[in-house]
Assembly symmetry: C2
Homo-oligomer: 768 residues x 2
């Protein structure tokens, strides 16, 4: 507590001891730890200070609770697979019981959250309200549908479209929520561009009506061309998506070549310029809002770390500091699985003068320090060298090692892979070729064995040696596939799925080429960096797809059937619906594209996202229901292709720029400097030059806990390095990106200042 | 000259006098002026210092010479319209004489350039070499083709594809060249991504061959499905462009729904991720190289202004300065059409202390100052107020004025326009509706008259009042169109083109809605800002299209004919080529899409750029020639859609960000500050609030030249403002964007420093 400045003999205190030192109450430490871990993960849940509340809060944040929540969310979403129209039908009673179970779990989670949050804050949070309203609506829907079912009337299960609400609104889906907020904030700007776009479409529609309406032209299918203003507007909207180019232009172009200018002007203005403007507006807003939010989060982090500091500080001389013992216990509470050597390293960075205490500036960095993953590396000898040094160091053995390390070795294997590719392309029924199969496999296995002979095995399969693992796994998969293939052929076993998987595994081995070409590896590494970002994005897409799929299933279910064309039934040619006779939908054999179950719906929505031929699909469904059905497809196009795909592109562009341009952050530089000062560093290049690491072993905890008073010695023989960027979370990358613009350290903004800095953003509830 | 420090009585010197002051030789002034104007336009042509050479140089840069060059470039490009296969055929003799004439003009221009450039620099310049080689190649081609023609053998006019070289390589096409350089510099990065993309395509092709090759599946057209590795690769490449989705998937999907996962995976990886990566790589490189070049240009500007300063400087006290009289004469030489009041304003900004001389820092800004357009505004009374003040100020008159200025007036007219739109959509044969036409027109004319009554006419039609001009021109066009329409209907005149233009003009009047909705106006203004950038881009597209069109015409000319389907000839159904029987090309009635003349070729290339159905077009041309013809179409796709369209998007994104984020530059701020200090400023908002300017008149030269010694008085009654961003060139915008990163002023980098700063870029020849 402030003013509580008893000096403790920090240098002798055993950091790993579990007895309670007299100078700090358990509750205060826990409270400070809660602040620090909140700052570390940028959570924004304020809590009461009773020890019970803090424990409840820690329990709320425990990984098992979160995993359970996610489990129920997925079960709830997956219910659509078992409900009518179902892939695997189950009676309504079963699915409804499962749904009630999920809802109970969500409600429990919400109650738990309410317990650790001040009432006022809880009720202000739109997230909580949303979840509650959705639970109630779902229950109402279940009761109504159940009663109707009891008297054999088929109702509409509309509440199913709301299920993604649970995925969005639980605190862990921050990224998805952020993207949704970004979309919402972009809407006003987009709206006016969209209106102008519609206006331009209207002008062009009127022109088309006047220019072509009275000409009595016919399309290729023989239907009248551009005679009705609504049809024209739809055709021109489709032209924006390019899906009916150049067909829509041909009748007019055949009449006179200069009508093509009308269409080219339209395409330049509406397809190229307006669509680029959409992207530019979305990207611009995306960056702006992202920056704002990250900015606010950074301020909040600073605020929370200051709170934690104020709880733990004691006065030494003229300044307030945190004593080393407290600091150690704090770190142990916040990050229980940090290794002792890592803790020691962090302490050296935070307590630069080795004065036995950590000052404010260094203390505030703690959350960032804990977020940076430091890898400890052990340098080891090759086990063969230890067991039989003579043989391993003999001139033959050294020659083999040199050979394996040579570039020509890599090239030879690249050529082998290419020859292998040609053999795969050839027909495998030839017995010579199936023998060659075995030859290639043994060559690959020899390669792996040679590498293991040359490089230290536990270093070769180190935790971060992504490419070595990749290489080995591919070869093991190929080996299994070939063995399976032979077995299948011998036993005349005929499972199509197994055969297909075996085939794919055998071809995937060609991916080994990526490993050996440095430039390819760089590109793939960058893509892997972007991976988490794209996964977040996958969540967003899933939410939208799910809602559209449920609506589509309610509206279009059972209208179109896929009947085996081999059956010869005339219905098979019109997808079981006479309304489709002579339609482009039936002629294109699109019967399989329907909304008869969740899987088909999702595949159909994917096709609509790809855009091509979407107007034929829309036309088909409009024929079997009503022309207004086209609105569903236009709506999907606007939401998914104009909004979401553009956000995705903005996402990728931004992530790519971040990955390209990011230097090491200030905190990372400090850690690295300290590592170098202590003489325990490894050049990152040496390590990243995959496969060429000589006798190094990356490990995370290499210390016995009782290093006590002789730290120097313990750090010897161990090498540290900062885990490379690819293991960082998106949040860290983004924060780093905007870090430079955040107010200089030393100035403590009060919570009020933060709130006034960006009043809309620091709504504790929404920015969580 | 340095050390030549006679003090001249600057305050009495008449700036507009043409007598030569004794303290400066004509030649030096001209040389300095040449440096300044080079800096102003960022040209990089070094020159000799003899007066004759400088005059020759000024002549070289004269607008008539440049216009003549452009004229010949366009004539040369347009020749393709008249050569076989021609839109308007002319004998070979005529076109070849025209071509030789153009080549002579280009050669003359080159010789002129050589005269004003040191030999060594001239011969190092790849641009000059390029132009010379192209001239020689064209002559050789002409001779060969002519001789073959003489003995009636039809040769290949391959040199025509080289014609865009002249457009690219003349010094004025800097923007196009910059984009080309940016593409060239991006190629290495793109290449590896492209190789990886091809590799991924190969893996997927092999998988498809193994998965579907032996299944005996058939496409909708009944041809075998995925049996040949080359066909598969082509189909998968088409799938990347989305043009054959979902058709390519349907046979496999019908067999088993889980094969759709193969296609979805392929689309996610190759269509979405790889294409986004292409955009990201191109955009990233585009920014990087742009920044580099602009950086270099800014340094060069600084260097040249320093050179000019060194020529003109005299020592006053401890520092070197340029005397006011010299400065005035310099500005008069560099910018002869700058108004005296504008000159006075610039002098006040440059000579802040009114000491009679300009110091170095201020002198170096001269090029920037001259680049900023300052508008002088006269405030005038409404002429009616001058003529009959009583009537104009009467209460009725004031009420009318108030009414016109009211927002409801705008809304009423918006509603009228909407009603008008509905009337246009209705059938106009009804006589009631054609009367309504006249009613609407008169309403619009009344609106304009009322506005002219309320606002001062010469201010309403001021130079920069874009929206007022726009509005009035639209109404005049509509009026003319309606009159023309009535005349035509009365006389039964029947020219289709005239009728079409009249129709379009009548509909375009609906664009008036944009004028009255503020948010729409903002978007359109932003688009107009980007206009020049997009025009540059148009040049780039033209160059690529032209080359591809010429090649296409040589290869595919006459293979496909459009025959009127009404003729009933069976050839019409197969585009005059039996090879197309039953092909999707003929069934889609695509016969009009051919390479039989330049116009058709360009339209076809536009269709290929839009991508949809390009594989059917490619297939058609492959059927009538050879399968290898597909390579032409794939090449076009890679160059235009993957490279150029992505550069276009990068272009638009960047331009949009610049337009969104640009603050006023440092120099503009200085000018504006000075304008405000002198009390002659107008708030920009007042002026930009289009149509509501009250009694203001924007003009550029309002001074009699003899303002002499009483400057203060002359500035009275006149108001200045800085012309808004939309009139800036792309170069200025870009330079401003990177201005902040340029070394602080006061430090003079030597030319050597500049060269070492970015050795590749400051090649005088290429960066010109």
């Amino acid at each position: 507590m402030p003013g509580n400045s008893r000096a403790a003999g920090t240098h002798h205190s055993r950091p790993s001891s579990s007895e309670e030192p007299p100078d700090l109450e358990d509750q205060e430490l826990l409270l400070a730890a809660a602040y620090v871990s909140d700052a570390q993960y940028n959570r924004n849940v304020p809590f009461e200070t009773s020890p019970q509340a803090i424990r409840l809060y820690h329990f709320y944040n425990h990984w098992t609770m979160r995993a359970a929540t996610y489990f129920f969310i997925w079960v709830n979403l997956a219910l659509a697979l078992f409900e009518e129209p179902a892939v695997f039908p189950l009676p309504f009673l079963v699915t409804s019981i499962a749904e009630v179970l999920c809802l109970t779990a969500f409600f429990g989670r919400l109650v738990h959250f309410a317990k650790v949050t001040p009432q006022k804050v809880f009720w202000k949070d739109t997230k909580n309200i949303c979840v509650m309203v959705t639970i109630v609506l779902t229950l109402i829907d279940l009761v109504i549908y159940g009663s109707l079912e009891a008297v054999n009337i088929r109702g509409v299960r509309w509440s199913r479209a709301l299920r993604p609400v649970f995925l969005i609104n639980f605190p862990e889906s921050r990224q998805i929520r952020r993207t949704f907020r970004s979309i919402r904030n972009t809407l006003p700007d987009i709206l006016y561009v969209f209106l102008l776009f519609l206006f331009s479409m209207m002008i062009f529609s009127l022109m088309a009506l006047k220019l072509f309406g009275d000409r009595d032209l016919r399309t290729v299918e023989g239907s009248p061309y551009f005679t009705n203003i609504l049809d024209i507007a739809f055709e021109l909207y489709v032209l924006v998506t390019t899906a009916n180019s150049p067909d829509v232009m041909m009748p007019a172009y055949e009449l006179n070549w200069w009508y093509s200018l009308y269409f080219i002007t339209y395409i330049i203005i509406n397809t190229y310029i307006f669509m680029s403007v959409f992207l530019a507006v979305i990207y611009n807003n995306y960056r702006k809002h992202l920056k704002n939010e990250i900015h606010t989060l950074a301020y909040l982090k600073h605020h929370k770390m200051t709170e934690a500091f104020n709880i733990l500080k004691v006065k030494v001389g003229t300044e307030f500091v945190v004593k080393e013992a407290r600091w150690r216990r704090l770190v142990k509470v916040v990050a229980p699985d940090v290794s002792s050597s890592h803790l020691e390293l962090l302490l050296r960075i935070s307590d630069e003068g080795q004065k036995g205490h950590v000052d404010k500036v260094n203390f505030l960095r703690l959350a960032d320090l804990l977020n940076i993953r430091v890898v400890a590396i052990n340098i080891k000898k090759h086990p063969l060298e230890t067991w039989m040094p003579r043989v391993y160091q003999s001139s033959t053995s050294l020659l083999v090692q040199k050979m394996v390390q040579h570039r020509i070795f890599v090239w030879v294997y690249d050529v082998i892979i290419l020859i292998n590719a040609i053999f795969i392309a050839l027909d495998e029924k030839d017995s010579l070729i199936s023998y060659a199969e075995w030859l290639f496999l043994s060559l690959y296995i020899i390669e792996i064995l040679l590498k293991l002979y040359t490089y230290e095995p536990s270093a070769y399969f180190g935790r971060k040696q992504f490419w070595n693992w990749f290489d080995t796994l591919i070869i093991i998969a190929a080996l299994l596939a070939t063995v399976a293939n032979t077995t299948i052929q011998a036993r005349k076993y005929n499972s199509q799925q197994v055969l297909d998987i075996v085939l794919i595994l055998r071809i995937l081995r060609l991916l080994r080429v990526i490993v050996s070409i440095q430039r390819f590896r760089v590109i793939v590494t960058t893509l892997i960096n972007i991976g988490p970002t794209m996964l977040t994005f996958g969540g967003l897409v899933l939410v939208v797809y799910y809602a559209f799929a449920i609506i589509g299933m309610e509206v279009f279910h059972g209208k179109i059937h896929f009947l085996d064309p081999g059956s010869g039934s005339p219905d098979a040619l019109v997808c079981g619906n006479p309304a489709l006779k002579d339609s482009a939908f039936a002629q294109g054999r699109y019967c399989k594209n329907n909304f008869n179950d969740l899987a088909s719906s999702l595949i159909l929505l994917t096709e609509l996202t790809v855009v091509n031929q979407w107007h034929i699909l829309a036309d088909g469904f409009a024929l079997v229901t009503h022309q207004a059905a086209k609105l569903y497809f236009i709506g999907f196009h606007v939401v998914v292709v104009i909004l979401i795909v553009n956000i995705f592109i903005a996402f990728i562009l931004e992530a790519f720029f971040v990955a390209y341009s990011l230097e090491k952050s200030e905190v990372e530089t400090a850690i690295e400097k300290k590592i170098q000062e202590l003489g325990v560093g490894v050049q990152e290049e040496e390590v990243q030059d995959g496969g060429l690491i000589d006798n190094m072993d990356a490990k995370d905890s290499g210390f016995s806990p009782d290093e006590g008073d002789n730290k120097k010695k313990d750090l010897k023989g161990l090498y540290f390095r900062i885990a490379s960027k690819k293991y960082k979370t998106v949040d860290t990358l983004l924060q780093q990106m905007f870090e430079s613009e955040i107010a200089p350290e030393g100035k403590d903004p009060s919570l009020k200042e933060i709130l006034s800095f960006s009043p809309k953003k620091v709504n504790f509830d929404n920015s969580a």
